[in-house]
Symmetry: D2
Subunit: 213 residues, 4 copies
Amino acid sequence: MKILLTGFEPFGESLFNPSQLLVNAYSPPALAEITISKQILPVDHDQAPKVLMTALQDHQPDAVLSFGLALGRAKISLEKVAINFKDYRIPDNTGITLQDQPIVVDGPAAYFSTLPIRDFLTKLNEADIPAEISLTAGSYLCNQVFYSMMHHIAIKDLPMRAGFVHLPALPKQAAQSAKPVPSMSLEQDLQGLQIMIDALMEPAIGQNLPAYP
Amino acid sequence: MKILLTGFEPFGESLFNPSQLLVNAYSPPALAEITISKQILPVDHDQAPKVLMTALQDHQPDAVLSFGLALGRAKISLEKVAINFKDYRIPDNTGITLQDQPIVVDGPAAYFSTLPIRDFLTKLNEADIPAEISLTAGSYLCNQVFYSMMHHIAIKDLPMRAGFVHLPALPKQAAQSAKPVPSMSLEQDLQGLQIMIDALMEPAIGQNLPAYP
Amino acid sequence: MKILLTGFEPFGESLFNPSQLLVNAYSPPALAEITISKQILPVDHDQAPKVLMTALQDHQPDAVLSFGLALGRAKISLEKVAINFKDYRIPDNTGITLQDQPIVVDGPAAYFSTLPIRDFLTKLNEADIPAEISLTAGSYLCNQVFYSMMHHIAIKDLPMRAGFVHLPALPKQAAQSAKPVPSMSLEQDLQGLQIMIDALMEPAIGQNLPAYP
Amino acid sequence: MKILLTGFEPFGESLFNPSQLLVNAYSPPALAEITISKQILPVDHDQAPKVLMTALQDHQPDAVLSFGLALGRAKISLEKVAINFKDYRIPDNTGITLQDQPIVVDGPAAYFSTLPIRDFLTKLNEADIPAEISLTAGSYLCNQVFYSMMHHIAIKDLPMRAGFVHLPALPKQAAQSAKPVPSMSLEQDLQGLQIMIDALMEPAIGQNLPAYP
């Protein structure tokens, strides 16, 4: 099984992005029948989706796990839905702010994750990794990349599962903030990622794309 | 202009529902060229959408403003999107709990509100009524009614604008809770509703259904 | 009965201070056997306590109700305790920031409010005014004024009850913020103040200073 | 240097108490010139202070680090102040609920921690362990034990530093909750404890009891 992992560069006031550190740090267990490819995305409204599309074409993965930071969330957020809406509260790293715009003109309003997020949720929480299903990935670049990816897979009818996962801040980000920011360690992120990958590799799940997760 | 207002009966631990009280209390200013119809919906997964569809047929409104309670929110939440997903954390008033189900099998993943919510947001905040655009209406009956309504309007190609608005708890609900629940008074809700209705009646907005809000 | 009401000028990013507006707007019901005096305090670490002490001397009140803003709180916060600690996160209006300092060198660690806050709590919530007993008035100027006042009353052995009450943001403050700031209307603040004054005037409460509330 | 560590048994809906697990799991580095004693306290309004007093007498520590759980907090909370107030929202493990009572009749309103909490804060955050100074330890058994301990030390004039530290929920507690509960791993708690102990052993701090934090 080929799995593509993506993360983002730091943005806004954050000097780190746990999604970047997680993707860079992950290596699969020895002997696992799995090929991992990785892509770090720029926080650039124009380039981020393009870099991801190129990675999809280059690696032809069976599944894509896209990660981003959601500062303020306390648990690993398994995103349910990507919406066709760009509305940035803070500028991206190129300085651009967008309001009330579609990501794809005339595209559908939304796509659901095709990852087995309920299964992920159960397995993560059983392993003491706090997780939750989230009903909004926001309207910033994370949602934009998520929607762009799902739209690309849909219109090309690609045989791959894909979805987006938001990570809490890292402890060092919380430690540098005067606010009561919740955090999760990179070790927990790595355990969580392994659990999600293991779930994807289970035969019953890995070989079929369910009509509805 | 014909406007249909809907609210919900109380549910869960709440003895009141601000959406019901708001809809019941509202009366348009004298001389306004407007016809208001009202429908209170039962908190019943099966009946709520049906009662709403019947009201749409009976009243043939130009616009529908659907209201519900979002205990814990601090501002009037102008909902951006309804998703094709039922996942109840608490039972409805018939005792039913649903998990991971589509509202309409093979329906699209989501519909956007066709109300001018950005215009509502600006006008509400200018009038000192705290408001926000919300990216999730949850996965309970509020979202279900919102999605069902938008789907019905879409497949019947009805010439009506529609959307959903979540209200904060009432002060008496906050006063009865030991938790720090934010609240908004019924007077503020009523002012907010009048502002939204006035915005709908502006010629530039009222006469055209924009392709994208 | 003579009651002194105090509020604060605006500070930080806020253009308004509900405590100032409340105190300025309040007038007692006709025929009430009550004398109200008012004092607005500057947000100045040095002047605020001095202005309050002068007001205590000038007006010789039976009770002092001091009000301040606690942006982010959802309910009227009846403060239990003032602590001998100054630790400002934001500068006062003179630009001063203080860290880890006592308010009164060798003063006791804390004073409790001598207002009947449990009685206030019950009566406010019964009247649908959301209220709570708070265990911290912070370490900014509100706590400093509260502590300074209680210390002054204690060392002078003055026959007066006194305490501090934090108010939520006003709706217009919440409407101007992009964050989900809870709010309470000035009308609710005024109703709440009248309830507290009525409670103070009840014979059983007004004539005795209980050893412990 | 002799250090006493205390933690609490589980209470309320929690099956675990990170303070118990932390105290039980800690062992000092080899060669450290330190004697660690440990005491787990029952969640019993009557017994908890007595068990702690006995431990103080038995072990005669130079410093006491008391730990408890604060479910909902995101960071290690270095408590500034213990107040003479018992007001339980939930019953203790003997089923008792108390309201509006002093811990020590005619005791002072509060005691400040005599631990170097500002120094702890700086060192914890520098080590990427999220920490904060907290201005309220609540009005439940944690505050009661904290106040009882400080009062005992004060009236006996014991030469020991003491204070209370609240810990966030453990990841497994957050994983078992449907709510967005922040958490911190036991590994982080252990690192944090070692940092606090190291700070206590620094000559400049360890040998003198400062008049003020």
